[in-house]
């Protein structure tokens, strides 16, 4: 298989077949917490996409230029990767606070919590586990982040409509959000087996 076809395969696999939110259940905290607001979901999607892609690039460099040559790989990975991710989140936070105070307010505590979002650490570990090269890592990270963005948009759209529909009291709020995302996850299982 040519290199480009391999990249396309990785992208489709990470965005649809193994969608990071709906089929690997990573990053559910902000997925459920922020989707009651469309604008906040979109802002969060952009922030997570930026952090994931840059973190994948930087952690690949750290992994392959320092950790593997000096045999530090298993035990120093979490510490150094979290360091990179935390710094990137700090950067994004400073930027959003300056450029869009309203978005900063509506994202609230979930913005600094990107630093502990399991999605981003998960992507860097998936890259390291599969021994991806630099371009493959970035493609995998882009695919996963766009998969997250897509899942956020889907759930935010559904919850916007749910707000105006009649529900039994005990389904209101987060309960119906979890049930709906379960159904969406079932729909995404249709992609299973598309890529071997």
């Amino acid at each position: 298989m040519s290199y480009l076809a391999n990249l396309a395969k990785i992208f489709v696999a990470s965005a649809f077949v193994n969608n990071i939110v709906l089929l690997q259940f990573l990053g559910l905290c902000s997925y459920i917490g922020l989707t009651d607001n469309m604008d906040a979901s979109i802002g969060m999607g952009y922030a997570v996409t930026f952090v994931t892609v840059v973190a994948a690039a930087v952690t690949w460099i750290i992994d392959h230029w320092i950790l593997i040559p000096y045999h530090l790989q298993p035990f120093l990975q979490i510490v150094s990767f979290i360091l990179v991710i935390g710094s990137l989140v700090g950067l994004v936070e400073i930027y959003i606070k300056k450029m869009s105070p309203n978005l900063y307010k509506s994202m609230g505590i979930y913005l600094p919590l990107i630093a502990t979002n399991c999605l981003i650490l998960g992507v860097t570990f998936i890259n390291s586990m599969h021994n991806f090269d630099f371009v493959e890592s970035i493609v995998e990270a882009t695919g996963s982040a766009l998969g997250y963005f897509m899942a956020m948009l889907i759930l935010a759209g559904i919850r916007e409509r749910l707000r105006n529909s009649e529900l039994p009291d005990f389904f209101k709020g987060k309960a119906i959000a979890f049930m709906v995302s379960g159904i969406v996850a079932l729909a995404f299982m249709g992609f299973q087996g598309m890529i071997k």
Binding site: L72, S80, L83, L91, I109
Partner: protein, 99 residues
């Protein structure tokens, strides 16, 4: 021993590098904030527990400064923190009258 030194150098080096970068950007994209909110934030316990109903100590301090929350909004700090917050607000008002 060698592994030990390299690990410390790696993590310490990256920590220093990212810290410097963040410090630079924090200075470059600085946001002017309400001085009263900042003074109130300094006396809050910084537990970020959210018991006051705001998503963290900073939003709580802003709410107190703007009068949207009472001075004893911080549940954890109790009476001691409420007294400190009250003092800060009074000092701030006095300074405003002077200037």
């Amino acid at each position: 021993m060698k592994t030990f030194v390299i690990s410390i150098l790696t993590v310490g080096g990256f920590g220093a590098l990212f810290g410097a970068l963040l410090g630079y950007f924090a200075e470059k994209y600085k946001v002017e904030e309400n001085p009263l909110a900042k003074a109130i934030y300094d006396v809050l316990p910084h537990g970020e527990c959210g018991a006051c109903g705001f998503p963290g100590c900073h939003p709580c301090a802003e709410a107190i400064a703007e009068g949207r929350a009472p001075v004893d909004a911080c549940v954890v700090g109790g009476a001691a923190t409420a007294a400190k917050v009250k003092k800060v607000i009074e000092e701030f008002k006095k300074e405003k009258v002077k200037s």
